[in-house]
Amino acid sequence: MEVRGLVRQFKGGIRAVDGLDLEVREGEIYGFLGPNGAGKTTVVRILTTLLRPTAGQASVAGHDVVRDGDAVRRAIGVALQEAAIDPLMTGRELLRMQGALHGLRAAEAKRRAAELLDRVGLTEAGDRRVGGYSGGMRRRLDLALALVHRPQVLFLDEPTTGLDPTSRVALWREVRALHAEGTTVFLTTQYLEEAEQLAGRVGIIARGSLVAEGTPESLKARVGQPTVHVEVADPEGAERAREALADLGEVEPPNPAAPARVAVRTAAGKAAIAPIIRALDEHEVAVESVEVETPTLDDVFMAVTGSHLEGAAAQETTA
């Protein structure tokens, strides 16, 4: 998937997407992270041919989204943000209809519907109307609908928004399984944890533009090193601990509010715990506890946009 200089301007001159460039490799899970109103859904709608770009180019599975929309639609599966499912239909009916929309013959669509209902754990609910499904069941059905024709590229637009933790984890498991089968997944999310858990690479979008991109680890490394916090048993030993750890990283100055705490910034992160314990032992400093604090994607978001992800939605909409 390749996007170059993508722009989408709505009535009133609002630029929901503003010169976006991105590239998604075959077989990867690409996490598209940003607050509400950042332009994520607009990008998904353009890439799935539901919306025309105002300017720029985009191709999915090697096909141009404007010139060769039908080929794009054959290659993709889409689960949109608001699971657009007819509440009066049953899960099985929807799957069979979706199969027909993708060219499956009746018998094949019937078989595939049964297979997918089983895959997403909805076999028992398959003949019930979707109006009676829980939010998690609807999302799982939506995912199954997107998989009917075994798409090369799967678009998941905020697939777990509003779901309880159990349903969220179940959906993550399914996305990982699809990735293992070789499906390319373009996942938009406003949840940091989701991006970290699933995505091989993350693109951060703010005000319609990509402001950072990379693996979660490389993005976090950009904003700082992990910090190992050591709580010594006796505050009087803190200074001795700082001397002992000086060679293992950048030791932070004493914090009068927490005299027993010693903080060391080190790129080694968790791997630094053993050397730190050994060094403290050699200097006869008793340790109460050790914690490793690593930068989060929210720190990355803060560094590149100046606001936290959770607070950014309000700013985006008032901007």
Partner: protein, 260 residues
């Protein structure tokens, strides 16, 4: 594009349209109940019209007005097509259809296939109910079957109009507000009185209303008497309406996609 593939798409969407409309009782009931209520009121309240000079020689006034009921049914069935389509647009289901690799015209035809099915069932029911209450069909079973077919074709035409409006506006509330306006089509056709007994203005307007020829065609079919109405003209008007409005809905679809 393979025709066989598109046919499967139309059938699948038609099946969905048919089954879902029978699960939406609040939308479906009026399409069955209103025409029968109007038939009861008209047949009992204005049956004296049969004695007017110029009124054709028919077995009963009830028999004469059954075609009006059938055409009213086709108008309501057509309107439900637009309402269902606008509902799909408003609630996002239409995006699911647009994201599939199907010809856009198939999406319109699938919806109209549901309308066709509804109209076939409706008109069969209306004929049976009227028969039970004393209507006579000298045209026999062939006349009744041809009537049902003509009703189906007409409903595709009225469905095309409402589908075009739904695609152009995407507004469910607008479609719902069209209910009264659709009756203008009915009352500017000789649904309950012969054309000659309509007010001069209505008589002039009725010439341009395709439903005029459908009503008269049904009348001719049921009576087995082409003097009462020309079935060929009815089928020609209905087919013309169906082709024109399906094309209109397809154009509205293209315009909608162009605007996105």
């Amino acid at each position: 594009m393979s025709l066989g593939r598109e046919w499967r798409v139309v059938m699948a969407l038609g099946r969905r349209a048919t089954s879902v409309q029978f699960r939406r009782a609040q939308l479906l009931m009026p399409t069955f109940v209103l025409p029968l209520m109007l038939l009861a009121v008209i047949a009992s309240g204005t049956s004296a019209a049969q004695g007017l000079r110029g009124f054709p020689d028919v077995a009963s006034y009830l028999t004469f007005v059954v075609p009006g009921t059938i055409v009213q049914g086709t108008i309501l069935a057509g309107l439900t097509a637009g309402i269902a389509m606008a509902s799909d647009i408003e609630f996002g289901f239409f995006d699911r259809l647009l994201a599939a690799p199907v010809h856009r015209t198939s999406l319109v035809l699938g919806r109209l296939f549901g309308t066709l099915t509804l109209a076939l069932l409706q008109s069969s029911l209306f004929l049976l109910v009227a028969l039970v209450f004393g209507a006579h069909y000298p045209g026999g079973v062939p006349g009744a079957l041809a009537t049902v077919a003509l009703a189906g074709l007409t409903a595709v035409g009225t469905g095309g109009i409402s589908a075009a409006i739904a695609l152009r506006t995407g507004s469910l509330s607008l479609l719902q507000s069209l209910f009264p306006f659709m009756f203008v089509l009915l009352f500017t056709a000789p649904a309950f009185f012969p054309r000659e007994l309509l007010a001069p203005v209505l008589e002039d307007v009725s010439v341009f209303n395709p439903l005029t020829y459908v009503v008269e065609g049904v009348r001719g079919l049921l009576a087995g008497d082409a003097e009462l109405g020309d079935p060929a003209a009815g089928f020609a008007a209905a087919a013309g309406l169906a082709v024109a409005t399906t094309a209109l809905a397809t154009l509205a679809m293209r315009e909608r996609l162009r605007r996105t």
